[in-house]
Amino acid sequence: SQTIHQWPATLVQPVGSPLSLECTVEGTSNPNLYWYRQAAGRGLQLLFYSVGIGQISSEVPQNLSASRPQDRQFILSSKKLLLSDSGFYLCAWRGGTGADEQYFGPGTRLTVT
């Protein structure tokens, strides 16, 4: 069966500090990978998606970047965090040898102070 991991689960960072969130998927190969952000009480905003190693598409211009160094690893980064980067960050996967459905990870709650 497939599983998706995200870490850390929670993070408190000062403004201007760097960020690195990691997501890994097990049990599938060549999935599409996604990063979403969910602000408090709001819907899901797609930030980045990747259809393969090194292939990143950005949905929203912002202070963040993403990378996919391995087939089942997706990383969300920032060089300098802004207050507006606070939120709940979710990684998701779809397709590959797994399924057509999309599954989400447990999320990382980021608070920028």
Binding site: Y34, R42, L46, G95, D100, F104, P106, G107, R109
Partner: protein, 111 residues
């Protein structure tokens, strides 16, 4: 106009009642439809996945897709307090394509 419209609620129902949720959409190319349940501070959990039109049942959950009306529904029978959560609809054109999400409906089931 958003591609996917979903009433944010909250929708409050007594325990044992049927919960009825729906989404409308404007893109006639959508073919893959999903419903997620999200508890507070948790990642969304996939509840139902349907392709094209029709009904799908899984335990207390029934998903309906009416492509002619661009309307999808989720019904929860015999609702329980543990069903209290936010329910998100999502849809895409292609099987591996990007999902378009509704804003989510908050459901509260009172004992």
């Amino acid at each position: 106009q958003k591609e996917v419209e979903q009433d944010p609620g909250p929708l409050s129902v007594p325990e044992g009642a049927i919960v009825s949720l729906n989404c409308t959409y404007s893109n006639s190319a959508f073919q893959y439809f999903m419903w997620y349940r999200q508890y507070s501070r948790k990642g969304p959990e996939l509840l139902m996945y349907t392709y094209s039109s029709g009904n799908k049942e899984d335990g207390r959950f029934t998903a309906q897709v009416d492509k002619s009306s661009k309307y999808i529904s989720l019904f929860i029978r015999d609702s329980q307090p543990s069903d209290s959560a936010t329910y998100l609809c999502a849809m895409s054109e292609a099987s591996w394509g990007k999902l378009q999400f509704g804003a989510g409906t908050q459901v509260v089931v009172t004992p």
